[in-house]
Symmetry: C2
Subunit: 443 residues, 2 copies
Amino acid sequence: MTMKATPSRLSTTSASFDAEFKARLHWSAEADAAIEQVVADILADVRKRGDLAVLEYTNRFDGLSATSVAELELTQDALKAAFDGLPAAQRDALDAAARRVRSYHEAQKKASGESWSYRDADSTLLGQKVTPLDRVGIYVPGGKATYPSSVLMNALPAHVAGVGEIIMVVPTPRGEKNAMVLAAAYIAGVTRVFTIGGAQAVAALAYGTETVPPVNKITGPGNAYVAAAKRRVFGTVGIDMIAGPSEILVLADGSTPPDWVAMDLFSQAEHDELAQSILLCPDAAYIDRVQAEIDRLLPTMPRAEIIAASLNGRGALIHTRSMEEACEISNRIAPEHLEVSSSDPHRWEPLLRHAGAIFLGAFTSESLGDYCAGPNHVLPTSGTARFSSPLGVYDFQKRSSLIEVSEAGAQVLGPIAVTLAEGEGLQAHAEAARLRIKQESLA
Amino acid sequence: MTMKATPSRLSTTSASFDAEFKARLHWSAEADAAIEQVVADILADVRKRGDLAVLEYTNRFDGLSATSVAELELTQDALKAAFDGLPAAQRDALDAAARRVRSYHEAQKKASGESWSYRDADSTLLGQKVTPLDRVGIYVPGGKATYPSSVLMNALPAHVAGVGEIIMVVPTPRGEKNAMVLAAAYIAGVTRVFTIGGAQAVAALAYGTETVPPVNKITGPGNAYVAAAKRRVFGTVGIDMIAGPSEILVLADGSTPPDWVAMDLFSQAEHDELAQSILLCPDAAYIDRVQAEIDRLLPTMPRAEIIAASLNGRGALIHTRSMEEACEISNRIAPEHLEVSSSDPHRWEPLLRHAGAIFLGAFTSESLGDYCAGPNHVLPTSGTARFSSPLGVYDFQKRSSLIEVSEAGAQVLGPIAVTLAEGEGLQAHAEAARLRIKQESLA
């Protein structure tokens, strides 16, 4: 049996394009009532019984036989040992990636995460104080999809923000630990690590137990149970977005070697069958060449089956009238990853309004961004780039408004507040403002 | 019958303080299953039947007899007429407040909401592009709690962010329109106004109908139905936080006239019975003076009943050992509004880690901040200031990472990405990076 990956071929000039395009894009996470109930029960149980509940669920779901939650904590020495035990190449790569990711997020903090204030003409001070969260939790999946790079991408922005304690949870099914994940926790400055997972880990972080301290925010990806648990504890703690399947959109003008583009489409498709890879290009002959490279390269891929399932099920090669039209369609999709594979990427970038990350030029493969360019790889999926942003330092900070009204300012602001408060029928608001107005100016 | 307002007197030196304090703070919004079901049905119905469903619910719940949703839209002329028809004092007050709020949010955008980028040693470009949302929806409550100031506080940051279209919804029970609310929409640059409300308005904004355009984010307060609807459409669109009851915490060193402080406590309590007003002060005699002012002033208040219910049910006057301890307790509460009513507020401000807004000095009554100082009055409630921020320009913007790896950069980053991708078993990621490495450097 020869495996084939043939993404749908669509053309914007076809009368049926809009319908086909919409059908292709459609994806929705149906809430699963059974999962919801299981998760609600686990949350309630951990809230009530604390450590004991966490211990029971962990032993049951992860096939362990721990006798206390304390036993499930890894020491800093264990993390350091994991790092020291890696092959030098992996150690160096993790280290180099961490340095670049840290440096990018330091620039991000400087550009948009510092306190600011000013005084107006009446010497009234106005501004915002930006402070780090006290303590955050990072969920790291265990089992087959274990990504040390995600540890860096979640922990480093928190560390750069100045978060006091970073608590990581990672399940270890049947006791299997991933050395690179622990090594990543070591170099990213994680404070404590518990080898727990699932809804019980989310509950422990949100409510705290005798052993696990409660956090202010939980970030990081997880399975459907973890996602449901995060959604439910939202409000008690902050959460990052609930991620959908990963997507890449490549805008190509035909100047990039077609095997590069084929491989970039693969690198999204290999994540899972629901991942989506789309190519937009005004040059039909170039699309043919990309398809030929897909055919040639697919058999060489260890994850060929997943890639084929993803490309056949959700992939698309779309022939557009022009690059301008390709940009417009990209805006309708609002992709998580957007490659502008063009010899003149800065010509198109201003036209691109919605995307998690924009990769400019042929040398900027998404995979370089995923691992080590510096920007975060936790990005808004499923079109949520229309209203949300990459994970960043700002997710681990919060703002407090600062207001210091001077005596002179109170004379100017008081009468305005009195009028508006009375208009809203809030007399105590009006009185509180009026008390600050000097009698002589009440005339 | 004499109405009395006697907030609990607590002292941090009491052995039972911790327990009493926790009991006082406890508040939780229980999800109401009946409301959840009604809201789920309304959302599904509007999604399916569009305008027709919105029209039916609006006529039924608001006692109207409109024949189309188009009929429920207000023209810009109607908004302008509402503004022009206001008494001059109200017009001027709205105008002055809008100018100050706009100017503060412009400073906010400049300080933390501009695009940025830099090039590293290999000329690789890294940065973030900050763009406004295309279209947002603002929910404005109708009926008794109708606040024009909230229109300004929601619409102006969106306007300053550069949002393309601002769609406001406001129910008009029995057809009653609030002129100040419409006037506020006029001066805040709202694009379109529909007189619809409830879960049906949230659904219309989230999914769009034949007449109401779909938005990317919905902000603004509402009743339990509106809150449940916002929670459910989250993911399809962005939402702001779900607000709990309003709170004020006053840190007093005893230097502020006690009637000022009493009135500030009232101005929170008058919002509703669940609102919370707390005073923290190291001076017991001063607390007595504040209680005396509460007794004296309460009878003069039009909303005395609500104030008394709030202060008796949830208020507290807490005697602390010191101002330092008061700051520490304030951090445990993470209040929405925090007044530092001290002759030396800048001494205490650095100790205050969690608060929605910090009001410094005796002249800075919360009410001045609520209406016209400039900062936003939409603030995190119920302790969520531990991890969230005032509504701001940033809520109406989103960020896209920008990455342009140079050819030289690809040679440096490629090997790092290859090592990490192979460590994660993602071969296509590794290949995509390897293809960008020049053959001679593969050695």
